[in-house]
Symmetry: C2
DNA sequence: GAGTAATGAATGAATGGTCATTCATTATGG
DNA sequence: CCATAATGAATGACCATTCATTCATTACTC
């Protein structure tokens, strides 16, 4: 196994164990075992468990942003662009339940709160500020979406998506393409003027 | 301190410590200390830490449901009833940040997932099924709200509320009565036909 | 190119710390 | 004075992290 493979194996094992059992029941010993390395090896690739967890989160975030950008065109009308992003995110989560669970765990842990706070203070704008931010700000100035603080627009758009994804992944609802579309449109309804 | 007071003190200490530091950094030793009792005393009132945590959750849930019912009238029109419930919940969370944080911690822990699963299987209907369920089901049959599975209606209605409450409590937005009203109405927009 | 030395990645047993829980002992109050 | 409540030191389990040691690979020398 190459060096890069080993690092990857450790990250993958962490993803699986944390997603399934939470941070506290994902001890380094188990992560190492599942990755097929010794416990000490983790520390050759990551300074400590903390760093491992944060690095994994950042890599997932990057991957998601890249995925959402494919097929996103700045020329389409607001509603379409919005629905593309929002239903794309939902589809991604459904296709990657482990990643979704990991991200949720992260967001609700002390790591995640600190991480988010840094981000909000660094730039004075909310999360994955790249595409979403632009879309929302433009929408507000052009008076197609409600005139509310950016953070609240994010909450209205993504709050339901997270909640729906969780319920699908826990098996409480079975989503299909039609439902996903309807949900994305409902989110749009809550934003549009 | 009376027996009841002691039990109450333990629950309160648990609420505070779990809300602030999470389950893992709320050891029994600290809970006991903050409650002004010895560690062993906890086990005279609760079988173990698990039970303590679940009992506290159930008491909070009961309290919230009771609060929301005050001022709720079955005669008002849909939109008003909905906005009453949803903005009431948001106001409750904002007024009780510790409770909100505790509930969120709980929902995202193995306790919470198991708890929810039992609930969903017990009755084949989603959460606080009392008032909300009735309102939503009635709304669907009367064709005032979208014809979507009940679980999804819950997600659309409460997903944003949770998200908004979290951002307020973390200090990322300062909500006032006007904003709360606007948010509740936006949630309604996503449900209404 | 064979033999030897140097390197540094990988290992996993050992360490020190933390935690939930127990229980022998002590305090309380009726 | 007895029954019951409360105590908190002790226990055993578990965990993140360390580090002396092993081992495979590379570099060097003749």
């Amino acid at each position: 196994m190459s060096k890069e493979d080993k690092r990857e194996a450790i990250l993958q094992a962490t993803l699986e164990l944390v997603a399934e059992h939470g941070f506290h029941d994902a001890p380094c010993s188990l992560i190492a075992e599942r990755a097929g390395v010794a416990a000490g090896t983790i520390y050759r690739y990551f300074e400590n468990k903390n760093e491992l967890i944060v690095v994994l989160y950042r890599e997932l975030e990057t991957k998601i942003n890249a995925t959402l950008l494919t097929g996103y065109t700045l020329e389409a009308p607001f509603r379409e662009r919005f629905v593309h992003l929002v239903s794309g995110l939902l589809q991604y989560f459904i296709a990657s339940p482990l990643e979704f669970k990991y991200i949720e765990q992260f967001h609700h842990s002390p790591y995640g709160v600190a991480f988010r706070r840094d981000k909000m203070l660094g730039q004075d704008e909310p999360e994955g500020c790249n595409i979403y931010c632009e879309l929302f700000k433009q929408g507000v100035t052009q008076q197609v979406i409600k005139d509310l603080p950016l953070v609240l627009l994010f909450d209205l758009a993504f709050g339901p998506i997270i909640s729906v994804a969780r319920n699908h992944i826990l098996g409480f609802i079975q989503l299909d393409a039609t439902l996903i579309q309807q949900i994305a449109e409902a989110c749009w309804d809550s934003l549009k003027r």
